[in-house]
C-alpha cells in the first residue's frame, strides 16, 4: 500500500526512462499553461469571468476533490489488499447517504427500531474490536454492552444532527462493508479475478435495487440542520465569492480522516498486518497474520470513509439522487481518481481525488455556456469516463503506482 519501497518501479524502463520521467511534468506544465491562457481569454471576452469566479471554482474543486479522495481511498485500499475492483463501493457510498438521511430525518425512533439498529452497531463495534485479539475479555463485552445501550437510548431519545448522523452511518456502512466481504467475496478468495469482478458487479446491482426497495426510488432532499450549510462570502480582487461553509468543513474532515487512517496504517499492529498482506497475502498468512480479519477491517475502514463522504456530499449538494444511480457516478469517478493516483497507494488516492475534482470543476468553469456555445456541462460525465479510459490506457500504474504486469 502506501509505504511501499520504490524498488519495484521501472522494471523495464530501459533507455526511454529519461523521457518518461520528464514527460508527466511537461504535460502538467502544458495543461496549466493552457488553463491560464483560457482564463485570460475568457476574462477578455466577458468581465464576469474574473478572479472571484475562478476562486469560487477553485474552492468548490477542493470540496469536490476531497469527497472523491475519501471514496477513492476505499477503492484503493481494497485493491491494494485483494486486487479486486470493488464495484459495490459506490453503492456502499449510496447506503451511507441514505442511512444518514434516515438517522437525522426520522429520529427519535420507536424502541423496536432503536434496539435493532443498536444491535447492528454493537455487533459491528465488537467485530472491529475483535481485530485486536481482545474479544472475549469481560471489558470488551462490557464495552459492547455499553455501546448497545447507549446507541439504543440515543436513537430513541436524541434528535441527530449531521455529525451524529455521519458517525452513525459510518458504523452502518462499516458493518455493511464487512458483511459484503464475508458473504460475497470471502468464499471467492483465490478464484479467477473475473469471477470476483462479476460477483462485485452482482453485489453492486443488489445494493442498487435493495436501495430502491428499502429506501425510495426518487431524488431525496438532504438538508440536516447545520451551521455549515449556511452561506459564506469572502472577497477576492474586490469581488465577492459566494459559497457555503462546506468548503471549509469538507477539506477539514477529509484531512482529519486521512490523518487518522494514515496513522492507523503506519503506526499500528493492524496497519502493519495490512501492509504485509498487500505485499504477499500467502506469506503474511504464514507469518501469523490473520489475513481474513485484515481484509475485513480494510472493508470496514474503506466503507466508513465512503459514508463520511456520502454525508458531506448530500450536505454539499442539498439532495441525494435515487439509489439506482446515486452511487454509480461518484463511484466510477472516485475509481478513476484512485487509478490516476496509482491504485493501491493511499497518498495516490488523495492526490488523484483532488486532481479529478479540480479537473471536473475547472473544465466546466473554463468552458461555460457563452453565446451559441452550449458549454460542456452536458458532456461532463462523458469526459470523466473518457479521462479514465485515457489514463488506464496511457499510464495504468498512475502517478505513484507500481508496475502490475505479469511475470513469465
Amino acid at each position: 500500500m502506501s509505504v511501499r519501497a520504490d524498488s519495484g518501479r521501472g522494471a523495464s524502463a530501459g533507455g526511454r526512462s529519461a523521457l518518461r520521467r520528464v514527460a508527466p511534468w511537461l504535460v502538467g506544465a502544458a495543461v496549466l499553461g493552457l488553463i491560464a491562457w483560457r482564463m485570460v481569454y475568457l476574462h477578455s471576452v466577458n468581465q464576469n469571468f474574473n478572479a472571484a469566479f475562478f476562486a469560487g471554482a477553485a474552492v468548490r474543486s477542493l470540496q469536490l476533490g476531497s469527497l472523491y479522495a475519501l471514496i477513492a481511498l476505499g477503492y484503493t485500499m481494497v485493491y491494494g489488499i485483494i486486487r479486486l475492483i470493488n464495484f459495490a463501493h459506490g453503492e456502499v457510498f449510496m447506503v451511507g447517504a441514505f442511512a444518514a438521511f434516515f438517522l437525522f430525518s426520522g429520529t427519535p425512533y420507536s424502541w423496536p427500531v432503536a434496539l435493532l439498529v443498536a444491535a447492528v452497531v454493537a455487533y459491528g463495534f465488537m467485530h472491529f474490536l475483535g481485530f485486536f485479539r481482545v474479544l472475549g475479555r469481560p471489558i470488551v463485552l462490557g464495552a459492547a454492552l455499553v455501546a448497545f445501550v447507549a446507541v439504543a437510548v440515543a436513537l430513541a431519545s436524541v434528535r441527530f444532527g449531521w455529525l451524529g448522523a455521519m458517525v452513525g452511518s459510518m458504523f452502518v456502512t462499516g458493518v455493511l462493508g464487512m458483511t459484503i466481504d464475508r458473504v460475497a467475496y470471502k468464499p471467492l478468495r483465490g478464484a479467477p479475478r473475473n469471477s470476483m469482478l462479476i460477483t462485485a458487479i452482482a453485489v453492486s446491482f443488489f445494493l442498487q435495487n435493495f436501495g430502491i426497495l428499502a429506501f425510495t426510488n426518487r431524488q431525496t432532499p438532504f438538508r440536516p440542520p447545520s451551521f455549515f450549510t449556511g452561506g459564506l462570502t469572502f472577497q477576492v480582487g474586490g469581488e465577492t465569492v459566494f459559497a457555503t461553509w462546506m468548503i471549509v468543513l469538507v477539506p477539514a474532515v477529509t484531512l482529519l480522516l486521512v490523518a487518522v487512517l494514515t496513522t492507523l496504517v503506519t503506526r499500528t499492529r493492524l496497519g502493519r498486518a495490512m501492509r504485509a498482506t498487500s505485499q504477499d497475502a500467502e506469506t503474511a498468512r504464514m507469518m501469523g497474520v490473520d489475513v481474513d480479519r485484515v481484509i475485513a477491517s480494510t472493508f470496514l475502514l474503506g466503507s466508513m470513509l465512503a459514508a463520511a463522504a456520502a454525508v458531506m456530499w448530500g450536505m454539499s449538494f442539498g439532495s441525494i439522487n435515487q439509489p439506482a444511480i446515486f452511487g454509480i457516478l461518484p463511484g466510477i469517478k472516485a475509481f478513476a481518481a484512485a487509478v490516476i493516483g496509482g491504485i493501491g497507494s493511499l497518498p495516490g488516492a488523495v492526490i488523484g481525488g483532488l486532481l479529478l475534482g479540480f479537473l471536473e470543476n475547472f473544465l466546466t468553469a473554463l468552458f461555460p455556456r457563452v453565446g451559441d456555445f452550449t458549454g460542456i456541462t452536458e458532456y461532463k460525465d462523458t469526459f470523466a469516463f473518457l479521462a479514465m479510459i485515457l489514463i488506464l490506457l496511457l499510464r495504468p500504474s498512475g502517478i505513484v503506482g507500481e508496475d502490475l504486469s505479469e511475470k513469465v
Partner: protein
Amino acid sequence: MLRIEAINKAFGGLQAISQLSLQVSKGEIVSVIGPNGAGKTTLFNLITGVYRPDTGRILFEGKQISGLKPNRIVDLGIARTFQNLRLFNNLSVLQNVLISQHHRLNTTWFASVLRTPGYMRQEREMHEVALEKLAFFGPRLMSFRLDQPVEVLSYANRRRTEMARAMATGARLLLLDEPSAGMNPSETAEITDIIRRMRDDGGYTIVLVEHKMNLVKDISDRVVVLDYGRKIAEGSYADVVNDPEVIEAYLGKRAAEQGAQLSGTAADL
C-alpha cells in the same frame, strides 16, 4: 542458424544478461547450464521476444529478430517450452497441438465458419501434423488421450504435450526449458532419446536449459555455462565440467581450489 551478438538485459539494478554472444548452427543440440538465477530462462525470454534486449541483437537465419513480437518470432521458426508448463489446461491434447499451427492458417475466420474447401484442407493437414508430432512420444498421447483435457494428464505427459505443441508450430529451432523437470530416471532416459530423435528424425535444432547433468552429458553437442548473466565457458561437456571457473560457479571457490570435479552422477545440482 541463431546468432546472438553481445546482448545485455537489466531488470532495475540487476544485470540479468551481460554481453552474451552465442551461435547455434543447424542440427546442433546445445545445452545451456548454470546455477539458479544465472539468466538461462531470461535468455530464452529474450530469444522468443518476451523481453527485448537493452543492447545487442539477435539474428535468426540472417534476419534480426530482437524487438519482434513473440508470435512473429514463432512465424519465423523458433518455438519454446516453458519451465513450469504453460499448457491450455482446459483444452484437449489435440486442441493444444492444433493451436500452435493456427499461425500458419491462411484463410479468414469467415472461411472457417463456412468451412470452405481450402479451410478444410488446411484443417486436415493440421490434424495430420498434430498426430505426427504426438507420435514422437509413442502411443501414450494418442487414442483416447487426444480428446482428454490436458489438466487430467500426468505431469510427464503434460511435458510431452508441451514439446509436441512446440514442434507443431513448424519451428526449426526449439528452445526447451528443462524438458526433464519432474521426471523420474527412466522417463528422463526416454526424453533424452526423444530429444535426440527430434534432431535426427525431425530435423530440429535444439537449445535446452537443463539441470540434470546425465541428460546434458548424453545429448549435448555443445554446452554453454552461464553465471550471473555472463557466459563463463563453452565447449564439449568434458571440457566444460573441468573448467575451474565452472566448478567455482557451482561449488564455490574452496571446492575449485581443491580440484573438485563435476561428475555426471552428481545428477541434480
